[in-house]
Amino acid sequence: MQLTIKANGKNVRVLSYLLAKNPDNLYERQHKGHFIRFFYSKFSDQELEAVIFVTPDPLELVKNSAAAYDITHYINDREFVVSSIFCSLVRSALGTALNGQPKEDYREWVDQPFSLEFQFGPVASTLSDQQLRDLFEPLGYETTIAAGEANYSFSVKAKSSARFLSIKGETTLQTGLRQLFVLIPVMDNYKHYFIDEKEIEKLERYGQGWLETHPQKQFILRHALRFKEIYNKLEYGSFLHPGASSEPKTDVAAGQKAEKKVRLNEQRYQKIIDIINQENAKETIVDLGSGEGKLAVQLGCVNGVKEILAVEPSEYASLQALERFQKREQKPGFLVPTPVFSSLFYYDERLANKDIMILCEVIEHIDEYRLPKIIEMIFKDYRPKMLIITTPNKEYNDVYDLRGHFRHDDHRFEWTRAEFRRWCEQNSGDYPYELTFDGIGEEHEAYGCPTQLCKFVRKEGE
């Protein structure tokens, strides 16, 4: 991690006073085992080149992290690339320049623009070259981007993910450095320290005079503050001037798609609730694979239901579900679903002999060859009075123009209506259930509805 400051022209020697670094001495400071070093590689009347770099202690960098149990934590780019780590380590070495507080005699030079070039890197960033340019060019810098080498004995990557930036322009040393201190963490893939409200204050200070008018202001703020909570605080702060939003417009098509998805979800839940409402035997309901509890929470409002088991093996999803249930808890007449940590791949006696079992958009997430065993367990061991299965209708994918793709990355299969019917009939054949098929969502005359449903009702007395 390094930064070279180059200057050409008259009076460049003054810069050594603005930096408060004596060209006759080597500068080296230690902080927690990391060396912060500074030297002049050129120092003449017309030309100045100074390099500040950090030789980190690699073991210190990987200490005490929550990620300590992941191997990627130990082999990473933090000790090489410029990042917020670099900024915080060199901040005090460059303090005089950043704060514009040289010795009294040189104060007048603080606001003096020089012909400056900053070379810094390596940069690890998901941003494209153009996006990087868009950060610096509006500030008047001529930007050059060089990439590292990526020649491997096997094909692993086409080009190097290590880049080195060089920006050139007329600016004061203070402004140039402050811009780098804001933009280096914005480019970098992640920050090393906890981001709190002080960050906003720092942004305000370093951003004075250039960030307000930067066309990428929103983008810079969002990346600099990283976490939504902090970013949201900014909305109420003094810094953000109302209007003038440069946020890129959200993709209209994507928005419609999302909306459609929400609507289909709601229709699915409504359909299931309608079916349940028509039933007499609905005291106990099991939502198998209840995920974040979206369906279960709606079942809590159905009259006549006395127990809802929300069955889910994902701990993360279960926590989300719990939160969802708690929010509704106080609502009169709401039956709080009981989260059950369990899985379709195990037998669970708690699920036996219930009125209604639901597999809503679950089976397509399971490898097809594993399904018969699950269905057998439901019919043979759990023996619900009713089973409801919903799953996508593959035929309808043409309406979405999915070109052979599944609707979700995790889908293991999607069935046509005929395939679904055949599968349901085959797997329930040995058990006393009556089958009814139905569709959910807008019906297409050739392809049917986007979601298909089968209701299995246990025949009386069998």
Binding site: D77, V81, F154, A162, R350, R370
Partner: protein, 864 residues
């Protein structure tokens, strides 16, 4: 008069003071019939607790006498409390104890009858019936006479009680008038036998006579002229019980055992069916069912053929043998119990003892009521077995011999169409004969079929979700905590291959407990070798460690074999160490197809008579599985490092011309640049492009199991031979280089070899004890220790880890947790495979796999 002393239990001497009880004990001790510790006397215990044997309160003033009497009573109470505790302890330990006290009152005797009953030991009474005159005479001559009045009182009580004694539940009651005429004989434990030339224990025969004869022949028994089966080495055979009922030739089988037992060639153990038939033969009113009725039919048939007389004689003979069959036998070697044979089960505290209660337990096992169908609910008595004696049992049919907690079930349900198993001791080998047919004629309640049909049922989650304990053969109890279970179930439900397919997860492997003592090395073979040496392992094997990704190959002979073993048609599966599919589906199918063809071409499945093979392997190249990791971590890091260091080195090189002070920094950065280049070079060693399956290399280093056997009893040399054999079948399989370490020279050779291959960039070596399962004082040792090369470790500890200041700190690492995990996971891995091969239910296999998955969710330093 002859008195037979039991091998253990209580001999209660009964008689008034001066009747000669202590005298008799002294005599027996002096004759070496009894050892001094085998007798306890109330007088001795009074002295022990109070320094006083007797206090005479007679003739003292009333007030004084009362007080002395109180004191004496207190002393007696304390003395008897300790005496009784001693007697009880000795009974628990199955020792013989003479109790020398008057025992005139019924309550005094009842105490000892209770102790004997509770501890399942015999109790006999030796009553000294001496005339009053003699008693009085002797009292006069004592040091501290008890006094006439007291003797007379005691005598009166004695004569009154004498009549009652016969009704009390002593095993034997001897009335002795003259102690001088007594002869004593000591019996040894009737159910203890020396192992002599070896024992062959045969499981539940149930009238499968032909299979039994075949089995005896397979065991090496030869029929002599008298139609007796003798073993040339003098071995004897044992029926574990239930040799009759259900099958078609119960009578022949019982007759066979009767003749062999009467000739001292065989033993038989009591059992539920045996006991019922015995009681039926004894004329008791019993209901014959569960196949017992077939025995009665056979007897009727015999009577029709040979007449009533012959039938009666036969019944008498068989009845005698059946009634005499003990609840269990304890076989000893050099006087130590090493083997216990019992029909259905036993508690440790019952071993070597006999009682009605023990007989019941041994016949039926530990039962906990009955289920809806009226079958007994069996409790797992064997989980509580703790002593070192191996318990062999039958009664409960299992598809394969079940080794659990140092017990062996050898009932493989021959009568239900299974197998008749024999367990050879001390060899601990199984010999089995397949049933010619299912003789039971009861398709609905065939326990083997029932077990098989439920074998692959989804595991009951209730057994796991609150945390659970797996009892492993290799390392005892392994506890799996609740939190870890949940995350493992989550993983099983979303990412892994199906439960019934995932029968094994490989254990983690630790480096040596201490870092290298050499400068400039973090790991070195010397410490790994020292670890095993310090634990008494002399012969080791060093195998080259491949650098790819760990994989398990579960390969079936054909799709039908897949269906048979895991419940769905499959040619096999290749999965990672976390149970996920190794390859994308199409690549997996292609690789499996190729391997399957190669194994068939080599006639592998025929050669080993197996329907599957389970291999533990490393699959190369590394980038097959790790390309994302390499792209985003290793390659990326190497590029940033090189770019950073190169530029700085250039800048410093320029500056050094005008500014000599930066020379040190420049040197430092040149060195650092070399490190970065070495780092970038090393991971490329393990990577190459794979365009078709032929470019994949698979190095199988353990053949874990075939359909009928596991190979944990084979040495690693055997496993390496199999590795070479497999490499001969398919170019996909590659050989693993290895060397044996058994002396200083071979040790030096291995170290040199390690230096050479790691200098070239190979990952390193794995050092293992020669035996697959190595133990020291019954404690499991690390199954393998990895020793990674200096260069390789750059991709683990960072490119600059060898800098002295870094290495000094890295050497402080602690491998304790990693080693504990490695042992637990190793034991779980072996256990799961054994259970699967024994065709136990999948939930018994799954508890091991889920355990490993759960243990792995407990974080440890990933660099170890």
């Amino acid at each position: 008069m002859r008195i037979t002393l039991p091998h253990a239990g209580i001999v209660l001497l009964i008689g008034p003071s001066n009747s000669g009880k202590s005298h008799l004990v002294k005599h027996l001790i002096s004759e070496n019939i009894l050892s001094a510790s085998e007798a306890v006397s109330s007088d001795t215990y009074r002295v022990l607790v109070s320094d006083t044997e007797f206090i005479n309160w007679r003739g003292k003033p009333q007030e004084e006498a009362d007080s002395i009497y109180d004191t004496y009573q207190a002393i007696s109470r304390e003395a008897f409390a300790i005496l009784d505790a001693t007697v009880e302890a000795r009974c628990r330990l199955n020792k013989l104890t003479f109790v020398d006290a008057t025992h005139l009152r019924p309550d005094d005797r009842k105490r000892y009858l209770d102790i004997a009953r509770i501890n399942h030991v015999p109790i006999i009474a030796v009553v000294l019936d001496i005339p009053l005159e003699t008693l009085l005479q002797r009292d006069d001559q004592r040091d501290s006479p008890r006094g006439k009045r007291r003797i007379k009182q005691q005598y009166q009580l004695f004569t009154k009680e004498k009549r009652l004694l016969k009704k009390e539940h002593f095993l034997a009651t001897y009335f002795v008038k003259n102690t001088a005429e007594l002869a004593f004989e000591r019996r040894s434990n009737p159910i203890e036998r020396d192992i002599q030339h070896g024992i062959d224990i045969i499981g539940d025969i149930h009238g499968c006579y032909d299979e039994m004869i075949q089995l005896l022949e397979n065991l090496g028994y030869v029929k002599n002229d008298e139609q007796l089966y003798l073993h040339p080495a003098g071995r004897k055979f044992v029926s574990i019980g239930d040799c009759m009922s259900r099958g078609s030739r119960s009578l022949d089988t019982m007759l066979f055992f009767t003749r062999h037992i009467n000739n001292g060639l065989a033993y038989m153990i009591d059992s539920n069916h045996g006991w019922k038939i015995a009681r039926w033969l004894d004329g008791k009113n019993v209901v014959l069912n569960h196949g017992d009725e077939k025995v009665a039919e056979e007897f009727s048939e015999y009577e029709r053929k040979h007449g009533a007389g012959a039938a009666a004689a036969l019944k008498q003979d068989i009845k005698t043998v059946l009634l005499k069959a003990p609840s269990h036998y304890v076989f000893t070697r050099n006087g130590t119990a090493v083997l216990v044979c019992v029909h259905a089960g036993i508690k440790d505290k019952y071993i070597g003892k006999q009682s009605k209660r023990i007989s019941d337990f041994c016949r039926y096992g530990d039962t906990d009521g009955f289920d809806e169908q009226g079958k007994p609910i069996r409790k797992d008595w064997f989980l509580h077995h703790q002593t070192k004696a191996c318990i062999v049992w039958g009664h409960d049919p299992k598809p394969q011999p079940l080794l659990i907690n140092n017990t062996v079930n050898i009932d493989q349900g021959v009568v239900f169409g299974g197998k008749l198993t024999a367990f050879r001791y001390p060899e601990k080998e199984f010999v089995a004969v397949d049933a010619a047919m299912d003789y039971s004629g009861d398709a609905d309640s065939n326990p083997l079929k029932e077990l098989e049909s439920k074998r692959l049922d989804p595991p009951n989650i209730a057994k796991f979700i609150n945390g659970y304990t797996v009892l492993t053969e290799a390392a005892g109890d392994i506890h799996i905590p609740q939190d870890a279970v949940k995350s493992a179930v989550d993983t099983m439900s979303h990412y892994t291959i199906p439960v019934e397919n995932l029968i094994y997860l490989p254990p983690t492997m630790s480096p040596a407990p201490s870092p290298s003592s050499l400068e400039g090395y973090l790991e070195h073979p010397a410490e790994a070798i020292a670890y095993y040496r310090s634990h008494g392992v002399q012969r080791l094997i060093a195998e080259k460690k491949h650098m790819g990704s760990r994989a398990i190959l579960f390969l079936f002979k054909d799709r039908a074999a897949g269906k048979k073993h895991v419940g769905f048609e499959t040619e096999g599966v290749i999965y990672t160490r976390t149970g996920r599919r190794f390859f994308p589906a199409s690549m997996e199918a292609a690789v499996l197809r190729k391997i399957n063809q190669a194994l068939h071409a080599g006639r592998y499945f025929e050669k080993y008579k197996t329907e599957f093979v389970l291999l533990d392997a490393e699959i190369m190249p590394w980038n097959l599985k790790a390309s994302e990791l390499i792209r985003h971590q290793y390659a990326h890091v190497s590029e940033t490092a090189i770019l950073d260091r190169q530029l700085l080195e250039q800048k410093l090189a320029e500056a050094v011309k005008s500014n000599g002070k930066v020379a040190e920094w420049r040197k430092e950065y040149r060195h650092k640049l070399d490190n970065a280049a070495a780092f970038q070079a090393i991971f490329q060693k393990y990577c190459w492009d794979v365009d078709d399956p032929d470019q994949i290399e698979i190095a199988p280093f353990h053949v874990l199991a075939h359909s009928e056997e596991t190979f944990f009893d084979r040495s690693h040399l055997w496993h390496m031979e199999r590795n070479r054999e497999l490499a001969g079948y398919s170019p996909l399989f590659v050989e693993t280089a290895f060397k044996v370490i058994d002396d200083a020279a071979s040790e030096a050779a291995v170290i040199q070899w390690w230096e050479e291959i790691t200098a070239e960039g190979h990952e390193g070596i794995v050092i293992k004890p020669e035996a697959f399962i190595a133990k020291e004082k019954n404690k499991l040792l690390q199954p393998a220790i990895k020793v990674r090369g200096r260069n390789y470790l750059r991709i683990i500890y960072g490119m600059d880890y060898l800098e002295p200041e870094n290495l000094r700190r890295l050497k402080k690492r602690n491998t304790g947790k990693k080693q504990r995990l490695a042992l637990k996971e190793f034991a779980l891995g072996i256990e799961g495979i054994r259970r699967f091969v024994n065709r136990e239910s999948i939930d018994r296999v799954h508890e091991c796999v889920l355990g490993t998955l759960a243990l792995e969710s407990d974080p440890a330093d990933p660099r170890l």
